[in-house]
Amino acid sequence: MSSTTQTAPVKHKSISYAGWGYFFIAPFIIVYILCALIPLLSTFYNSLFEYYMDGLKQIGPNFVGLQNFITLFTPRADGRLEIFNYTANTMIMWIMGAIPQIVFALLLAVIFTSERMKIKGQGFFKTVIYMPNLIMASAFAMLFFQIFSSVGPINQIITANGAPAFLFFDNEWSAKSIIAFINFLMWFGNTTILLMAGIMGIDQSLFEAAAIDGANSSQVFFKITIPLLMPIIIYVVITALIGGLQMFDVPQIITSGRGGPNNTTKTLVMALNAYIGTSKNYGMAGAVSFVLFVITGILSFIVFRSTEPKKEKKGGKK
């Protein structure tokens, strides 16, 4: 534009590159709007309708306001509120898997990056611990289902001496533990790699300085590694949390989609899937998704807040 009035070049006080900034983030924004924001809003929109299949007949869509949410939050005849139950199952199974996952991963990451130990054959070990992540969750679930089934190898060992078979999938805690264990096994390798990257990003001179000052290993770990690794740990926790809230494939396959026994391994996404499966109940499924979204948002916020480094307030009491 300005090329037509070249007689006196305008002198800018400062050059703004903001336009280019918007240009470069545009692909992300566009993809985000198309693939995340619109589906999110349409999910909520759908949750306000009665809209499902009855056999081969379509019912709706009829606007019903918040009726689907009311149905979701109405306890059933024996007083149990299933949506709460599913949320609790999801969280419990996630915590059962995530705590050992992060502890193990941290331990392995420290060992592998330790300058003192200099582990040989690191590539081999890293491959081995990452390997479970490459196996499909469904294959993993099927494998464990066979191993722990009433006639599987574990029960063959148990019954070999005449003891009655233990039905792992008919007991709440054994079922939950197996599911949590599979998730742990699948994901600790991934977490290890992330944490290793984080530790290697810490300046080696800090470790050396600590060693010169006479700090022992645990002091180095708690005073240097952990604080400086915090941002990565937060990232790991949040991604694991979101992944955990979406827990689906393993419990779905291991319990044939029923979430047994007594719905104690049924997760939120399994409930969502149950609604969307046969009846194509977009209304109820939309309501479950929206609840899941809100829960994820709240929990992410809490994790974020609680791990944020505290800023010293100006003028505060000392």
């Binding site: 499902y52 299949m53 009855d54 056999g55 081969l56 019912i59 059933r76 005849a77 024996d78 149990r80 299933e82 490459l134 499909m136 089934s149 009433s150 006639v151 009655p164 078979a165 039905l167 008919d170 007991n171 044939s256 989609g257 029923r258 047994g260 026994p261 007594n262 719905n263 409930a271 149950a274 609604y275 499966g277 046969t278 009846s279 109940n281 109820m284």
Partner: protein, 480 residues
């Protein structure tokens, strides 16, 4: 270099997993290029003219059904929930070329989805709803349905009246198979290739030990009511046997005699006979009459009981059960071939059955008609089904020939003439009190009540779990 190989491996793993996600359709045959097949002359012709020809020829409809039905497709898509019919089709269907996987030159494409949890119905529903807009080669031409949900398809516009593809009801078909395939206006929408009167299948050696006899008539006399069955269960336990392996083994014997439907007027009610079944198996479990691991009928816990070292006396099922689902009993090393017998048992019932239905919009109506005809009328095919596969066909003329033949015997059943038994049982079959919701009601009830049986939850909680399941699967159904 190492890194490069590793990354190539990783990348291919990622691509594979993506590809496997995209290709979620479980078609069992590779989609070969059909344009190279030389057969299927009608394929070359304009399909609209073929249709016009068919319409013009209506007078000849009765004489030669295959010629008048609309045809001309290049891919024959069949949906099914297991490999049973596929096996029969590939072995006996006239005009089927096994090496090219074609029927009369038309590529046969199977889509098989297991029926567990309604997965087959879900898959089929979606395909049928897309049938109108699907391209000719992707249209569902023919599909199979079971007694538990056939009503959903016959009573809809997604299936065709068999007269539209040039078929008529044949007298030799059993009446219940015809009424099951008829819609509410009496239009016949399909045919069954099986008739499924079910019997009590017992281990002869165990029956001898427990009941003192293995003669079918005498065994029947000792097991002809549920009270007697319970007495026999106690006796079996004393001798170290189980009356039945799975807790669900006798479920159909009860549920088939229901006097009310699972769902009527949009309201779910547990049929009285199902309540009776629940009480009985609870007693069986508590008394140790059945396997305490509570396997379903299909689980290894139950099927391993069919081996020679099994301790289970009774199984229940139609002819297809011991041919298709009792493979362990027929195992040459560990099985007990010939150590079996059948009788009616405590109550008459039927179980399953496979109906062949034509999907609306098919471009291979002629082939569908041909298949239906082959598996209900073609004597050669039916004879093979009986003699090689042990099927009780849906053709009373063929069946009765064996039933009345004193020299006929089934070696698996120790030479007993099972057809003579089924001939009587088939007279009692009624197809009534069925709804489109039956599969998941039956499946779900058995599954959720299991935790009540083994005492991990009380009955009310088990029922509430079941109602919750029904609410998710069938929002239109009101639960108590």
């Amino acid at each position: 270099m190492k890194k490069r190989i590793a990354s190539a491996v990783l990348a291919s793993a990622v691509i594979l997993s993506v590809a496997s996600c995209g290709n979620s359709g479980t078609t069992t045959t590779a989609s070969n290029d059909t344009t190279t097949t030389t057969a299927a002359p009608a394929a070359a012709a304009d399909t609209t003219t073929a249709a016009a020809d068919a319409a013009a020829d209506t007078t000849a409809a009765d004489a030669a059904p295959a010629a008048t039905a609309e045809g001309g497709g290049t891919t024959f898509n069949i949906y099914a929930w297991n490999e049973e019919f596929k096996g029969f089709f590939e072995k006996y269907m006239p005009g089927y070329d096994a090496s090219a996987q074609t029927l009369d030159g038309v590529k046969v494409n199977w889509t098989i989805t297991p029926s567990d949890g309604g997965a087959y119905q879900d898959k089929l529903d979606q395909a049928l709803q897309n049938n109108a807009s699907a391209s000719a080669d992707d249209k569902v031409d023919m599909f199979l349905a079971e007694a538990d949900y056939i009503l959903k398809y016959t009573d809809s516009d997604y299936t065709m009246d068999i007269s539209e593809i040039g078929l008529k009801q044949v007298d030799t078909e059993y009446q219940y198979t015809v009424s099951a395939a008829s819609d509410s206006n009496g239009k016949i929408k399909g045919v069954s290739f099986q008739c499924c009167p079910a019997a009590l299948i017992y281990r002869r050696s165990i029956a001898k030990d427990v009941l003192g006899t293995d003669d079918p008539t005498e065994v029947q006399a000792q097991l002809d009511s549920w009270d007697k069955y319970e007495e026999a269960a106690a006796k079996a336990k004393d001798k170290g046997y189980y009356i039945q392996g799975s807790y669900a083994a006798n479920y159909r014997v009860f549920s088939n005699n229901a006097t009310s439907a699972w769902v009527s007027g949009g309201q779910l009610t547990i049929p009285a006979v199902v309540e009776q079944w629940t009480d009985q198996v609870k007693k069986f479990y508590d008394n140790g009459y059945i396997l305490d691991t509570l396997p379903t009928i299909w689980e290894a816990g139950n099927t391993t009981q069919m081996f020679n070292d099994g301790k289970t006396m009774c199984f229940f099922g139609p002819a297809w059960y011991y041919n298709f689902s009792m493979g362990n009993a027929q195992d040459p090393d560990k099985g007990c071939y010939g150590d079996w017998g059948i009788c009616q048992g405590p109550a008459p019932h039927f179980w399953g059955g496979t109906w062949i239905l034509a999907a609306t919009g098919t471009d291979n109506g002629d082939l569908v008609a041909k298949v239906m005809q082959a598996f209900t009328e073609n004597e050669e095919v039916l004879t093979q089904l009986v003699e090689v596969e042990g099927q009780y066909t849906n053709n009373s003329a063929i069946n009765d020939k064996y039933a009345d033949d004193p020299t006929y015997g089934n070696d698996f059943l120790g030479g007993q003439n099972d057809f003579a038994v089924y001939k009587e049982l088939a007279k009692n079959i009624k197809f009534e009190n069925n709804t489109i919701y039956d599969q998941l009601c039956n499946e779900g009830y058995q599954d959720y009540i299991k935790q009540y049986l083994n005492g991990s939850v009380d009955k009310d909680t088990a029922l509430q779990n079941f109602y919750g399941y029904i609410n998710e699967k069938y929002p239109a159904v009101q639960t108590p």
